[in-house]
Amino acid sequence: MRVNLHVKDRVAIVGAGMTLFRRRLLETPRELAWEAARQALNEAGLTLRDIDCIVTGTAPDAFDGVHFNGEYLADGAGGFGKPVSRVYVGGGTGVMVPIAAWWHAASGHCDTVLAVAEEKMSPAMPHPQYVFAYIWDPILERPLGPNLIWIFAMEMRRYMYKCGAKKEDIALVSVKNKRNALDHPAAQAAAKITVEDVLNSELLVWPVNRLDISPVSDGAVALVIAREKTARRITDSPVWVEGVGFTLDNTHWYNRELAYPRYVQYAARMAYRMAGIERPWKEIDVAEPYDPFDYKELHHIEGLMLARPCEAWKLVKEGYFDRDGELPTSPSGGLLGVGNPIAAAGLMKVAEIFWQLRYEAGKRQVKKPVHKGVAQAWGDLMQAGTVIVLGN
C-alpha cells in the first residue's frame, strides 16, 4: 500500500452522541438517527447551520426493512439540502463512517461533517437471524441452510485449535466486557457474570454459547467532525483523527486460514503508518476492538498488533486488558455489554475512544493516562477490517 503521509488538513472529532441500545425501541430508524445527531450537535454546541456535509452508515437494509435505507435516514441525520452519502462494509461500517467523514473534511470539501450510524434490527420478524441468512453466497452457501453463528463458531473453533485457547479462557472476555458495561448509561447487556454463567448458557453452535454473543439491538450513534481551524473554534479539547485504515479480504472465506484476521492487520498497518505509530502494543493507550463475539475481541487484539498472534487469550487471564490493566480494551463494555446495533455499534466504539481521550468517560475512564486510542470494526464474510487511530 502506498500511503502519502502529507495529508492536507488535520481533522478532529468535536462531539459525540448516542441513543440507548435496546432490543426493541419505539423510535423509527430515522428518529434514532435524529436523536443521536441532535445529541452530538448539542454536545459540540452546534446547529445544523454549522454542518456542511453528512455521512451515514447502516447495513444491512433487510433489518430495517427499507430499500435505500440511507435515503430513508437522510433527514433524520440532518440531511436537508446538504451533501449526504452512505458508506458500508457490513459490520465494519461503524468505523468506516468516520473514516469517510475524515476525507470529506481532510480533502477540504467540507469544514464540518456529521457522521451518523444507525441500525434497527428489531423490525425483522420472527427473528432478525433471518436476515443473516442473506449475507451468505446465494448459490454456494445458502442452500446449506446456514446460520450466521456458524461462521463465527467455525472461526472460533479454528482459533482455539491453532492457539490452544479453551472455551473458559475466551469466556473471560464476555465477563470483562459485560462488567465494563455496567458503567455505560446506554448499555443493554451489562451484567455481573462468571465464566460458569457463559459456559452454562444456552449452547447454540458449539463452541458458541449464548453469552459468548452480543445481543440483537436497535440504536444510533453520531459524531461531529471538523477541520482543524474550525475544530479549535468549537472546543478546547478536540480529539484528532490521526490514522485511518480499511481493508476487504476476498469473499471466499472458506478458501483461507481463519485463525488470524490478516484483513484487520492490513487495515491497522495503514492506520498506524498514517499516525506514525511503529509499536502499537506500546504506543496505544486504550483500544476498542470489535467484539460481537468474545473470541472476536482476542482475534482483533492480535490483528491490531496489540498482542502477538495466539497470545491475547493468555493476557486476558492476567487482567492485562481490564480497565485498570496495562492496555484496557473495550472499556465501554463493547458490543457484548453495550449492545450490537451493527453499524451503530462500531461508531459507539469510536465515540468511546473520543470520550476516553477527553477524560469524559466518568466511571468508565481507564486508570492510566491516555494519549492515543484505536477503535476497530469488522464485517462481511469475515473479510472487512476498519481501523481509526485517535489522539488528544
Partner: protein
C-alpha cells in the same frame, strides 16, 4: 485546477439482460478494460477501490462482501457507497484530495435482470408508515406527480415530454450502447396508452444490466499513464430530504441537483455553465426530468426549458447539445451504475472516441445524475477533456 483525472474507463453492457455473465464476471470484464485503458495493474498501482451498490438491488445482505474480488481489491482498501456511481466518484475525488491516495478505482454495476420482483423492491423504498400502506398502484408514482407539478409551474404539456422521449430514442440509434433506441414519432407517443398520467411508457426509461469501472488519478500523475486524461474540475452531490419525508419534497423541481451543481460549478470556477461548457449528459429516467435538470443545472432559464427544447437548442447539432448519447431513455436505467454510464458517454465524447455520435466540439461537459424515485439525491460532475 483539476481535482482529479479519469485515466481509464471500462464497461460491460448496458443491455436489458446478460445471462452469460454473473454480476461478478461482468464487473471483472469492465474492470479489466478500464485497467488496460489506463495501463495500470490494479494489484500494484491502485490505492483504493470503491463500489456503488445497494443490498436490495443485489439480492445480498451487505452486498459489499462481493465487491473486492472482480475489481482487484482483495486485501486492499475497498468499501461501498450506497448511492449512484457519481457519488462514489465524489468519494474518490475527496480521497485523492487528502493527499493520501494517488489512484482510486470506482466501480458500479447493475443486474436488474437478476431481480424477479423489482417492482416490490421499489415498494420497499417507500416510507413504511405514511406511503407504503396507502398501496400506490405503481411505486414510480413520484415521476408522474413531479411531471404534473412541472406542467403547472411552467405551462409545459404532455407533448413536450413526448418530444423529449422521441428525440432521445431516435438519437440513441447512433449509440451502440442504446438498447432502447428506435424511431418513434411524437404522435405515436401521444396516442399510446398512458402509464401514469401524464406519462406514457415512452416517457419512462427501461432497465438495463451494466457495469462501469473508472480509474481515477491525482491530476498531476495523469499524463504518466495516458495521453487522453479527462479532468474532473468539480463534483457535487446533495440530498433534498430523506425518503422518510418524501412528502416534504418540492414537487416539479430537483433542489438536490441545483445544490450539487452549484458546488461543482464553484469548484470548477464556472459562472455560466452554458457558455463555459459544450454539452451535458443529464438525468432523464422519465422525460420531464430532462427538462427539470436543464433548469436546475442553469442550462435553461426558470420555466423555459421546454420552450428552448422545442426550439431545438439542445439537439445534437443545436446550440448546446444535451444527451448526445440518447440518455437513459435510449440506454436504460442501470440502477446505481446509471450515473457512471452517462459519465462514460461524456468521457468518450471528450476523448473524441464517441464514434457515430461524436460531437464536433466537445471540450468541457456536465454530467448530472439522480438516483430515481423515491429518492431526492443528485450528483453533478464538471469534466474537461485532454484538449481543453
Amino acid at each position: 485546477m483539476a481535482k482529479a483525472a479519469i485515466i481509464g474507463v471500462g464497461w460491460y453492457g448496458p443491455r436489458p439482460t446478460t445471462p452469460e455473465v454473473s454480476f461478478r464476471e461482468m464487473v471483472f470484464e469492465a474492470a479489466s478494460r478500464a485497467y488496460a485503458d489506463a495501463g495500470v495493474d490494479p494489484r500494484k498501482d491502485v490505492d483504493a477501490f470503491i463500489s456503488a451498490q445497494e443490498d436490495f438491488w443485489e439480492g445480498i445482505a451487505i452486498a459489499d462482501e462481493f465487491a473486492p474480488e472482480p475489481v482487484g481489491g482483495v486485501l486492499r482498501p475497498t468499501f461501498t457507497v450506497a448511492g449512484d456511481g457519481l457519488q462514489a466518484l465524489a468519494h474518490a475525488v475527496m480521497m485523492i484530495e487528502t493527499g493520501m491516495f494517488d489512484i482510486v478505482a470506482v466501480e458500479s454495476h447493475a443486474k436488474p435482470s437478476d431481480i424477479a420482483t423489482l417492482g416490490e423492491i421499489y415498494d420497499l423504498a417507500l416510507d413504511p408508515l405514511h406511503i407504503r400502506p396507502v398501496k400506490p398502484a405503481n411505486p414510480l408514482f413520484m415521476m408522474a406527480l413531479d411531471a404534473q407539478a412541472y406542467m403547472l409551474r411552467t405551462g409545459a404539456d404532455a407533448s413536450h415530454f413526448a418530444l423529449v422521449s422521441a428525440e432521445e430514442r431516435v438519437r440513441g440509434l447512433n449509440n451502440p450502447r442504446a438498447s432502447f433506441a428506435g424511431k418513434v414519432s411524437i404522435d405515436e407517443i401521444l396516442d399510446s396508452e398512458p402509464v401514469m398520467d401524464p406519462l406514457t411508457r415512452y416517457d419512462i426509461a427501461g432497465f438495463a444490466d451494466a457495469s462501469v469501472v473508472l480509474v481515477v488519478a491525482r491530476p498531476d500523475l495523469a499524463e504518466k499513464y495516458t495521453s487522453k486524461p479527462v479532468y474532473i474540475e468539480g463534483v457535487g452531490f446533495a440530498t433534498e430530504t430523506g425518503t422518510g419525508t418524501l412528502e416534504w419534497h418540492t414537487w416539479g423541481r430537483m433542489p438536490s441537483m441545483r445544490i450539487a451543481a452549484l458546488r461543482a460549478y464553484s469548484q470548477a470556477g464556472i459562472g455560466d455553465p452554458l457558455s463555459s461548457t459544450d454539452f451535458a449528459e443529464v438525468e432523464d429516467r422519465a422525460s420531464p426530468y430532462l427538462l427539470m435538470s436543464l433548469e436546475e443545472l442553469g442550462l435553461a432559464p426558470e420555466g423555459e426549458a421546454h420552450k428552448l427544447y422545442e426550439r431545438g437548442e439542445y439537439e445534437y447539432d443545436g446550440y448546446y447539445p444535451v444527451n448526445p448519447s440518447g440518455g437513459s431513455l435510449a440506454m436504460g436505467v442501470a440502477l446505481e451504475a446509471t450515473g457512471l454510464l452517462r459519465l462514460l458517454e461524456a468521457v468518450l465524447q471528450l476523448r473524441g472516441e464517441a464514434g457515430a455520435h461524436q460531437l464536433s466540439d466537445a471540450e468541457r461537459a456536465i454530467v448530472a445524475s439522480w438516483r430515481g424515485p423515491p429518492t431526492t439525491t443528485s450528483a453533478v460532475v464538471v469534466l474537461s477533456g485532454p484538449s481543453c
